[in-house]
């Protein structure tokens, strides 16, 4: 089975800081990681490869340093990694990103044969749009399965896939045809630790690096900032409220504190008492 996994290198947002004065992001020293959601898709891809044979390729569009993230996918077990990097791609929104990725995927298929499955993460933690997967699918004419919680069956012969997918209010069980695009839901598997030989292979591997030209991108005006219909007009910190909470002085003991607190709540919102009495008695 030939499988491609789209991954993205993202700043570890847990460690992002905002400059208290200028409100700009202080990027200095913020470590980067593989977008955590992508790892669930990578693991699922590796599982399928282990079962059916074949190969897993990882792909990212990003700055040269994104090669680190790709190398890591190889240390986890991917067979090949491709970095799409070029100044033409800078400043891309989701539409321009999906264009470049789709073009690169076409070139990958030309080079190493048709893909059976393409995986993306559910969403990224920096862009956080969950749109790149559906966009890539649309551009490549792939059937699309997002929020997948389980791959029930993948039949290489019949070229059929059965999956479970999280929907509002329940789980859909869907059957579709390969090739298709799958975005796994988080927490659906546990990403493996590659072996020492995976690590050594990854450390020695050449990350295949493609410019726009290498990837045979047809229309450069559809890439990067140029190809992006959306623009970020301004970035700002959430408004600060100037008034703080009205503080209630704690009483002598917890019981007193509870009483004064309840008093304060109902004084502020008189209607609440009635509502809550109803709620408490199970209306």
């Amino acid at each position: 089975m030939k499988i491609l996994v789209c991954i993205k290198q993202v700043p570890d947002s847990a460690q992002i800081r905002v400059h208290p004065v200028t409100n700009t992001i202080m990027r200095q020293g913020v470590p980067t990681i593989i977008n955590p959601y992508d790892l669930f898709s990578l693991e699922e891809a590796l599982k399928l490869r282990d079962k059916f044979g074949g190969e897993v390729t990882t792909l990212t569009m990003g700055p040269p340093m994104a090669a680190d993230a790709l190398r890591k996918t190889m240390a986890i077990g991917a067979d090949r990694a491709i970095l799409l990097t070029d100044r033409f791609f800078a400043g891309a929104d989701t539409l321009a990103t999906t264009y470049a990725l789709a073009q690169a995927i076409n070139k990958i298929q030309k080079t190493w044969g048709a893909l059976d499955l393409v995986f993306t993460g559910k969403q990224t933690i920096d862009g956080d749009t969950a749109q790149v997967g559906p966009g890539v699918a649309k551009r490549l004419g792939l059937l699309q399965l997002t929020y997948v919680s389980k791959i029930v069956e993948a039949d290489e012969e019949k070229r059929e896939v059965v999956i479970e997918r999280r929907a509002e209010g329940g789980t859909q069980v869907l059957k579709t045809k390969m090739p298709c695009l799958i975005a796994m839901l988080e927490g659906t598997n546990e990403v493996r630790r590659g072996s020492i030989s995976d690590s050594l292979r990854a450390a020695r591997a050449d990350i295949i690096t493609w410019s726009a030209k290498d990837a045979e991108i047809e229309d450069l005006t559809k890439c990067g900032l140029k190809g992006s219909p959306t623009i970020v007009k301004k970035v700002f910190a959430p408004p600060v409220r100037t008034d703080r909470a009205a503080f209630v002085e704690p009483g002598k003991n917890a019981g007193d504190s509870a009483d004064v607190l309840i008093e304060a709540i109902f004084k502020r919102h008189p209607a609440l008492e009635d509502d809550m009495t109803k709620l408490a008695s199970g209306f």
Partner: protein, 435 residues
């Protein structure tokens, strides 16, 4: 599985490990470096000051792209009581030289950069991999390492232990004793972020100039320890460290001590309005010369903190780590070039290099200091600072008391607390230890 064999395996990607791996890889040896953290430096802690000279010997043009924070132009030593500090301060424009001598750094960034150079030099680096055990042959010669990854044994002619102060592997393999609580300090550290302009105004700095404050006194509550404040580009590193044995005896927590230090009236205004990010705790070997373990054996050498190579008195560690790493790398390269086996006898070359360097010479010079500071902790950290502070206050307060009486009062205070012979005794012991 195909067996993998390297010329050398380096355990750890801290200062010592990176220096060793770089030295060997850049000379063409086939090097594997293993690091348990997510990436080199991810878990490493330092105040931290980088001493340029020792790095220059490894990467001469490091200033061009290494992530350096500020070069130091000013050093403040503060002797503290609960409400005051008496300071000595040295600032010189001469430190604004073309190739400054000391820099503040942030280890997680610096180590990462250093490790990239190691990779650039041709070493293979694998992170998120913990070495669990040294592998020896029937004769006790170390021939490789086992890791916590599947298929995890890798072989090499020589293993460089650069695993830092805990030195679990060395201890487990019986190559060194586990450090004792009175020989290690536990330091905790926080990063306080401030807008650059505020920071520079507060510390009287221009451009990339930096200041270091080292503080001791009653803030350690009679224990052997000290606090520090280092300026980075947009943040201040504030930390506090004490001997592990003291924490245990005095039922104090490192974090409590740091909180206390931060609230000190001389420190608090420096940190005001900052945003705290990152809290770290780390051990520092403080036993000095007398606690240095065996440094080499059949198929192995040990470098950096793992070998207790740390000059606690001068707060130097990373430079000794880098130098020992480099010298180990050079020794191994020489043995290898002669096509000699990595036996204990041949690896003695490393010890010889080390003895000839400042590392062993400095550590020997201060060999009695750690013990002295420990036994005289009450005096050094409680009594003297209080006396000095009292004297200063007495001297400065203009209240109509004749100066001569003020002087007498101060001398009396010194005598009451500590007999003159005691004072002289301490001074004498300090001088001897220093010598």
């Amino acid at each position: 599985m195909i067996e993998e064999k390297f010329d050398a395996i380096v355990i750890g990607a801290g200062m010592a490990g990176n220096a060793a791996a770089y030295t060997m890889a850049s000379r063409g040896l086939n090097v594997l470096q293993l690091e348990r953290g997510e990436y080199a430096g991810s878990k490493n802690v330092q105040g931290g000051i980088l001493y340029a000279d020792m790095l220059e010997k490894i990467i001469p043009d490091f200033r061009e792209e290494a992530p350096l924070e500020r070069h130091l132009i000013e050093q403040r030593f503060w002797m503290m009581t609960d409400r005051s500090h008496t300071g000595m301060q040295y600032r010189s424009d001469d430190f604004n030289e073309e190739k400054p001598n000391r820099y503040t750094i942030i280890r997680s960034q610096f180590d990462r950069w250093f490790n990239k150079q190691v990779q650039g030099a041709g070493a293979i680096v694998i992170s998120e991999t913990t070495v669990t055990e040294l592998v020896s042959d029937a004769y006790g010669k170390v021939i490789g390492v086992r890791t916590d990854r599947a298929g995890g044994t890798v072989f090499a002619d020589v293993v460089v232990l650069a695993e830092g102060v805990n030195g679990l592997l060395g201890a487990r393999a019986g190559l060194r004793p586990t450090p004792r609580p009175e020989h290690v300090a536990l330091a905790v550290k926080e990063m306080h972020f401030l807008p650059r302009e505020t920071l520079e105004a507060r510390f009287n700095l221009h451009g990339d100039e930096g200041v270091v404050i080292e503080a001791a006194g009653t803030i350690s509550k009679g224990m052997t320890g000290m606090g520090f404040v280092y300026t980075n580009k947009e943040s201040i590193s504030v930390g506090f460290g004490c001997l592990v044995s003291d924490f245990a005896e005095n039922q104090e927590t490192p974090y409590g001590m740091l909180e206390n230090f931060k609230k000190h009236p001389s420190i608090a205004p420096l940190l005001e309005g900052s945003e705290v990010k990152e809290y770290a705790a780390h051990l520092i070997p403080e036993g000095g010369f007398n606690t240095i373990p065996e440094l080499f054996g059949d198929g192995w050498v040990v470098v950096g903190d793992a070998a207790q190579l740390n000059n606690a008195i001068h707060r130097e560690g990373s430079n000794l780590a880098m130098t020992s790493g480099r010298l180990a790398g050079e020794a191994i390269f020489q043995v290898k070039s002669r096509r000699d086996p990595m036996t204990k006898q041949n690896l003695a070359l490393y010890k010889k290099f080390l003895d000839d360097s400042f590392v062993m010479k400095d550590l020997k010079k201060y060999k009695d200091m750690p013990a002295l500071l420990h036994t005289q902790a009450q005096n050094f950290f409680l009594t003297y600072p209080t006396l000095v502070s009292k004297a200063m206050e007495n001297f400065l307060r203009v209240d109509g008391t004749p100066k001569i009486e003020k002087e007498k009062a101060s001398v009396r205070a010194f005598r009451e607390k500590r007999s003159l012979t005691g004072l002289f005794g301490d001074a004498w012991r300090l001088a001897r230890a220093w010598r």
